[in-house]
Subunit: 345 residues, 4 copies
Amino acid sequence: MKMKALMKTKPERGAELVETDVPEIGPNDLLVRVRAAAICGTDNHIYDWTPWAQARLELPMIFGHEYAGEVVEIGSAVSGWQVGDLVAAETHIPCLQCYQCRTGRQHTCENMKIIGVHVDGAFSEYARLPVACAWKLAPGTPFELGAILEPVGVAANGLFKDRIDGASVAVIGCGPIGIFAQQLAEAAGARKVYATDVNPYRVNMARRVVPDAQVMNAASEDVEAIIAEETAGRGVDVVIELSGSGPGTAQAFSILAKGGRVSLVGLPSAPITLEMTSAIIYREAIVYGSTGRLMWDTWYRVANLLQAAKFDPTQVITHRFALDECDKALQLTLSGQAGKVILAP
Amino acid sequence: MKMKALMKTKPERGAELVETDVPEIGPNDLLVRVRAAAICGTDNHIYDWTPWAQARLELPMIFGHEYAGEVVEIGSAVSGWQVGDLVAAETHIPCLQCYQCRTGRQHTCENMKIIGVHVDGAFSEYARLPVACAWKLAPGTPFELGAILEPVGVAANGLFKDRIDGASVAVIGCGPIGIFAQQLAEAAGARKVYATDVNPYRVNMARRVVPDAQVMNAASEDVEAIIAEETAGRGVDVVIELSGSGPGTAQAFSILAKGGRVSLVGLPSAPITLEMTSAIIYREAIVYGSTGRLMWDTWYRVANLLQAAKFDPTQVITHRFALDECDKALQLTLSGQAGKVILAP
Amino acid sequence: MKMKALMKTKPERGAELVETDVPEIGPNDLLVRVRAAAICGTDNHIYDWTPWAQARLELPMIFGHEYAGEVVEIGSAVSGWQVGDLVAAETHIPCLQCYQCRTGRQHTCENMKIIGVHVDGAFSEYARLPVACAWKLAPGTPFELGAILEPVGVAANGLFKDRIDGASVAVIGCGPIGIFAQQLAEAAGARKVYATDVNPYRVNMARRVVPDAQVMNAASEDVEAIIAEETAGRGVDVVIELSGSGPGTAQAFSILAKGGRVSLVGLPSAPITLEMTSAIIYREAIVYGSTGRLMWDTWYRVANLLQAAKFDPTQVITHRFALDECDKALQLTLSGQAGKVILAP
Amino acid sequence: MKMKALMKTKPERGAELVETDVPEIGPNDLLVRVRAAAICGTDNHIYDWTPWAQARLELPMIFGHEYAGEVVEIGSAVSGWQVGDLVAAETHIPCLQCYQCRTGRQHTCENMKIIGVHVDGAFSEYARLPVACAWKLAPGTPFELGAILEPVGVAANGLFKDRIDGASVAVIGCGPIGIFAQQLAEAAGARKVYATDVNPYRVNMARRVVPDAQVMNAASEDVEAIIAEETAGRGVDVVIELSGSGPGTAQAFSILAKGGRVSLVGLPSAPITLEMTSAIIYREAIVYGSTGRLMWDTWYRVANLLQAAKFDPTQVITHRFALDECDKALQLTLSGQAGKVILAP
């Protein structure tokens, strides 16, 4: 059987819409009819063929990994799933046998593979999904919501390293994950949420989607002074760093209260230089590296907040395209003038 | 100088409104002009002269310990306070020298004295307050709010043993502390709050003050069945036990999820019998004894949520009396047909 | 193929040594040649046909669940295992699909089955072991050590609810699990270990195996007074309750420091009555129900301490029997005049 | 009354032994007859008059802050102390009124002053000690032990951010604090302790004092390769960074297991550059800034381990001098050819 798929075929910018075989599944896999797939920064790297992508991908490769769909076939050794179930995908494929996997940390598996990077992904009509990466959606869940649970989980994993209730929280970066982090912090009882970005489109998007947060344009506002004023000079309790930039990372600490915590989530493309003594040591800061999502603690936590109608992450979706408009879609996301962009294969 | 005070003078039911000397203060004390004092269950024990009270009080004693007022005199060794500051009282007087006090747990001091039980309290125009028990209120704070921060803190200490964000929470008991617990759980990002009582007055009060909570009358509703239904049979993540009763305590566990936690706050007047194997062991429950308030972590946590306008505990105040109406006030609180009752000396 | 097995065939005291078929394995199972199996209290219940056993077992059933052996056959869907691998068994069979299993708590699975209770166990030459319950032993590991890792893990799960380093620890009960708990506490940096039992055989065994612990006979020594004296009246930081008895449970709290923690591990056969106010609430005690072992955090923790040669649990093994001496072996364990007893099928 | 004191009088290298007044104490102070004072790196900065010292000290100033002695006079408002009590000094003077001080974190007080930096210290016959900084020593405690409890506490605060039992621990830096950290890790049940330095004197000192640790000379041994080999490629669970150097800090992460933790204790004199993505984020490392000692949790923790005779920090003391040999003493410590050096005023 054939399907349409967005495939990276050549080591250069771009991608190709091809007709290819529907994937065959193994005994521990599901076959999913993809209904919505979201574009992630990783996909931009792949489309753009940056050094990051060149170092990781073996071509040809179908990319795309944030997706939801319908189960159409079930591997012979799988139990607990039925044809017709709705499913969202966890991107990280764990080996289930290493120390990390056997102590509740499959998301940092020692032998991890990533969907859409190491194995074929989901910008296609059908996708093979290891059952170890399958999150069952309640009947009736909108596919677009299912498709963005993975990046919502990135925000949740960073935010929920420890308690949020009553805390003041600053989010550095107002892309989709930054907005999810703000929504989650509000939903989880934060006392006050602050957010910054230097891109006016994103600042405006945050102001629209999270009206109770205090969103600042770091290019024109004195973030440190404002937060010092707001917190009687003490700084915020929690910072989520999503920019991956040197200034963003330095600011994460300069606005942090003594004894506060910073979650580093955004991936810097270059080394970062920090005054450790003042930033971390004298401040007794706690710094958490954060990647992926706890399987499945993070997913349950997000589902619980969604079930209680505490927030709506689909407000971050700004554009939708068909699969054959992929060039337009990817160029839009690269421009920074979009929230979350959905492809509907 | 003389003042009016409600004094327990005789070892029998009742109390006497007397004229007595304004207290003299020591170098580490404040003298407070009491503006609002709330009636606590402890005060009922004292008024009623129950065995609990008989075992603890040496008469005569001015009782009452939940209060707020204005600082009118400052001890010679005190710094950081000024005449005219508003103040609320922490009831537990720590020695500041024992292991508990020196490791952040003054509220379980090994040599603790309690205001209104071991030393004169605050049902009076003036009260001596050790500075180690003084919580500064922001200018303009209503005195009635200040007077009930202490019992709000009882709820907060029980609730915040660990994180609340995203959790399902059940509160057993809908007296003032139970309602505070429900309000705090909502403010702190609980997914859903359940509450029970057997007193219709209190059930109604909870429904009025915490409309988003699901309040059940345990005398007429099948609490276990309802919670099982609500939680897909898993039970709730967090229970706050305030009834101090055998059935309440048993129910705290029967509605608890595996791995969930129970905070025991209500003081049983008799031993409690439990099936430990099913209630606690196979369930891997975590049980927290909870008393008083962390000094001052609990107070800051409550102040932060108040500052963010996340909840209003004064909605629990139902009656106000002058000091000379104390008999009426205490009989009302003993009847169970009141929320929080305030005396204004 | 046939094998010898100790089978419970009739609803009465005793067990029968039978010849029966070697079990067939499914795609996710291992077939194990059992080399050493330890007798657990559960096995005594089954042999004795107590109400506990009557309520749980469907006969006929091969019992026994603490065991180690050699892998002789591997299910078709299993990866990561080879014929000849040494293996120890985790007793709890998780469903891997429920909330508990998907959040790192397979040991309290909502659909748990237990080896030797709900499915055939290991007092037999061969046993079927779900790979989800298989713990790989390093080549050369003594089978007797492998066979007792499961009860060592019971002690470890109870003890390691939180940190032990620098803590004073009391262990109530000096059966094998009690001695393991004492050894683990010493290995994990406890400041001082106390232990009690009322059975002189067990008191002596503890004194022999854990010479640095202070072992008391609770029938003849005033445990509370001794611990008060030893701890300047503060009590111990950590108690592990293994007796499952009313007096043992009450004592767990009466010797506990303010803010200390108690792990309830021993299974009471009847309800327990406690003065909650003094035992738990005013003391701000933390009580942990503890059952089974974290999969696989507890197993790694024990393996790490073993690898560092911090302790030797095989010192608790006092007797060894062949499978056809099972009556003698089970009567010995029922008598309380033995440490751990090994059957070698 | 007059006393001898080592005073920094001029803004240049060196210090002066002067005769000056015995300090007068306030109502909340103790007067201490100093019996042993240890030389800290801070004292080297002051003696050497580095930019660090120039930025902080107002001259003249008596320096030295790690000390123990005998109480000879007691302030009027102090309770719980008697003339003749032995005392060790905590260096950080807390205000006791700020948010940090009121939530158990006096060691990161918002208004902190430091003994021997902001107020006169203890290289003198007598010293004024705020009672808020006084740690009572058991009668008979050697003064030299008392004098080094402060730096032992620096190691303990860094090490005990979370549990150590069963963990593999690497200590980067084998000066006195590094050796204390190794001793404490062994005492607290670490599975295995690794340590590195590039100074052969310190490597040898560590090998002598902590024979069970694996001490490596990072200048000649391939630390990463050795630790990878030792830990099956996983890395160590806990790293304590004491070098404050760029290479030491980078190595702290390159030898760290996924999900492991690093305590940053050594104070870098220049910014540090790190590849955050690989060092922290993908590794989900936890980084703790660590300064000073928890008051008084850290002190109790150390006292408990000392009382249990788990380690002997005085083995790190290599030299003793009289106060008038201070130049020799300070030059020795600056040379790096000494362990802890004691002055006996």
